[in-house]
Amino acid sequence: MKPISFSAQRRQSIPIAFGIIAVTGLLLASCHANDSSGGAIQAQEAAQRVYVAPGKYDEFYAFLSGGYNGQVSVYGLPSGRLFKIIPVFSQNPENGYGYSEETKPLLMTSFGFIPWDDAHHPELSQTNGIPDGKWLFINANNTPRVARIDLKTFETVETLEIPNSAGNHSSPFVTENTEYVVAGTRFSVPIPQKDVPIDSYAQNFKGVLSFIKVAPDGNMDLSFQVMMPGFDYDLAHAGKGKSKDWVFFTCYNTEQAHTLLEVNASQRDKDFVAAINWKKAEEYLKQGKYHVMPGTYYDNRFDTSTQTAHSIVHQEVKVLIPSECPGLVYLIPAPKSPHGVDVDPSGNYIVANGKLNADLSVFSFDRIQQAIQQKQFDGEVNGIPVLKFDAVLAGIVKSGGLGPLHTEFDDKGNAYTTFFISSEVVKWKLGTWQVEDRQPTFYSPGHLMIPGGDSRKPWGKYLVALNKITKDRYLPTGPELSQSAQLFDISGDKMKLLLDFPTVGEPHYAQAIPASILMPRSEKIYQLANNHHPYLTRTEKEAKVVRSGKRIDVYMTEIRSHFVPDNIEGIHLGDTVYFHVTNLEQDWDAAHGFAVEGNQHNAELLLMPGQTKTLKWVPNRVGVFPFYCTDFCSALHQEMQGYVRVSAQTEQVALSWSTGKE
């Protein structure tokens, strides 16, 4: 085999291969349309398996990314009931996330305030390779960021921008003890960013793979980046057990195309899986073998004590160049435009899902180590050794499907792979590489998820396929249809379809964890005693309104069923009013809301017991405007209201406030 060369010149204008795949896909889809119950068992039996009686709890929490809604949805399994939507990268007017002064910093980036993003892959933190229920990480694909959600409160508590990256897709996968969260760029770009012709891709474009260190308290710090060739880096997974020091990334567009990628990035028979040894990286960092490169990025942290997020702005990042760091990176040839890369619970098998291929290539970690020792290389790319395909291959799964995307594992030595084009989940055996079962999905699954299915300890009872297309599955809702999740029982030899349910946004990846781990950690209230918000109003007696120049600070309390103060006068046009609202309740589920009429740029506030949040309001006309509680808090919720009077600047109205004054 001749050394691989990379050129942007390889272009073919007629996508014959892809055309055949597409036609085949349509044919297969039409076959399935006649069998719309799929592998569903008797309806009554399936209903019993997913029925969670009123007042009873589900067995698992499932976290489904919201894709283009920038959020995470929390579901129960096996019922498929939706519990909560956690806003992460998108403003959420529903609860004021990204609108309250406290949460606005969480959406700050070097580009400024970004109100939306595309959230793809939730990943639970792990201890010893097992999900521990402390945090959930998720990536922003558009403006590269990684967020951390605290699973005690189910709230976003940190967002970290990734400099030099563009399209943070191969992210945020964690190492075995959550030492690192990885963030690989999907798009290669000029680094540092500069004004160059797009067709100078091959010379100027690079891809960085970032490693984020996670402190024991969860705080993230960008530790280092690895400067890789100008490919697209698609997905990743960390090793475990014997392979725990490694992280594997899939690459496509090794053709280095910059236009019409559907054709031009689909020409090579093999692309790569990049294997990165993060322990080695730490050694090189210690030896000082890094370059400090400019790169402005924001680390936004929510302080639970002050209930306020603050931005820390960094200006540079440590970068490792593989050619200067032998042993840091190896490339494994993998057919063809591989998408997911998944590591089995033992840590020995690495599955590359070649999305334009029918077969799955499975590599052996032991053989990779052996090939590295014996230098069984097949050329190199930018100084990175390419391992011989045959030397590291453990087996090929002849699936009979088309378009493998992702693989997860159960606890009985089986693997399950989604096939987008042939719209199915295929179960196969590790070691024998034999297909054991296949079930159609409705339609075209992207990711799939087994609780703990990418960890050392899968809870192999259920499998959720996350479908991209629903067509005729639900009552139609005009041209825009929901996506769907399909729940399979995988406890037996054959997969059994139990349930499908529509999902919010477009879920990509998902994670699930037994309720027994997460439920005891869930907080009921925010302790008022631990609230150190600078604008806290601890008791009704401390409520007040303070003017400083054109700024008005309202220190306000809410408790069933009144505000203090609920009459405010002495505000003038041209003032900016900050309502700092504290919910004094300390009872579970005693939430209050706050909204004021004519708030041009902001939404409402939802306040959980013991929380303080701030809503900015710039009145733009004279009058008396109501404010009220938006959360049906109590029997006298409709009475929970107040007025704020806004006077012309020429009027002499003294600042005053009260509640209950006749």
């Binding site: 408790i559 309740e585 300390q586 009872d587 029997a635 006298l636 009475e639």
Partner: protein, 224 residues
Amino acid sequence: MQTHPSITALSGKKKASAWMLGAVFFSVMIYFFPLWKITLYAPQYPQGIRMYIWIHQITGDDAYTLQNINILNHYVGMKDIDPHAVPELSYFPYVLAGIIALGFIAFLMKKRWAYLSWAILYALCGAVAIYDFYLWEYDYGHHLDPKAPIKVPGMAYQPPLVGVKHLLNFTAISLPDWASLCMMLSIILGIAAYLCCRSSAIKPHYRLPAGSDTPREKPVVSHS
């Protein structure tokens, strides 16, 4: 088999002392447990809210229970339950301390009348305390703010002293708790001590059999 009279006599007295010491011990325990427990159930509180009345304080499931009960109560115009507004909570602990001291003195005196007087005094104090508790319940339940948002004609919100009562959307269950059991046990042990002494004072005369071994001590007779 026959019991030696002197042994019977001695063990009766010792027993009385032990009962009395036990009575003092259980009285001390009253400081460490709630006297009364009121549980409220409502559709919004399926797990219930519990309020505990101690000799010196009022507590709940957590630090915020009283606040939460007060928020609910204010809709019907009940006063806030404020432990600082109940003077009994500040002086009852001293009354109990006095009773414990007297009990200990009775234990040292080893006198039958002392045991009995102590038990009677204690029982009287307990009855007064329960009556006082009833009065507080009556006060909270009946003296309602005339401006209350929810007014149900003829409705009072006095929780039961012991038992179950439905108050609008709430079901209130009121029961004595561990400290009350300790108090009852103390009183019973005091009476037991008295009875032991009495029996030891009477029984030897009837049981002294002819021709038995010479007693090492004279049988103890009545103290009174």
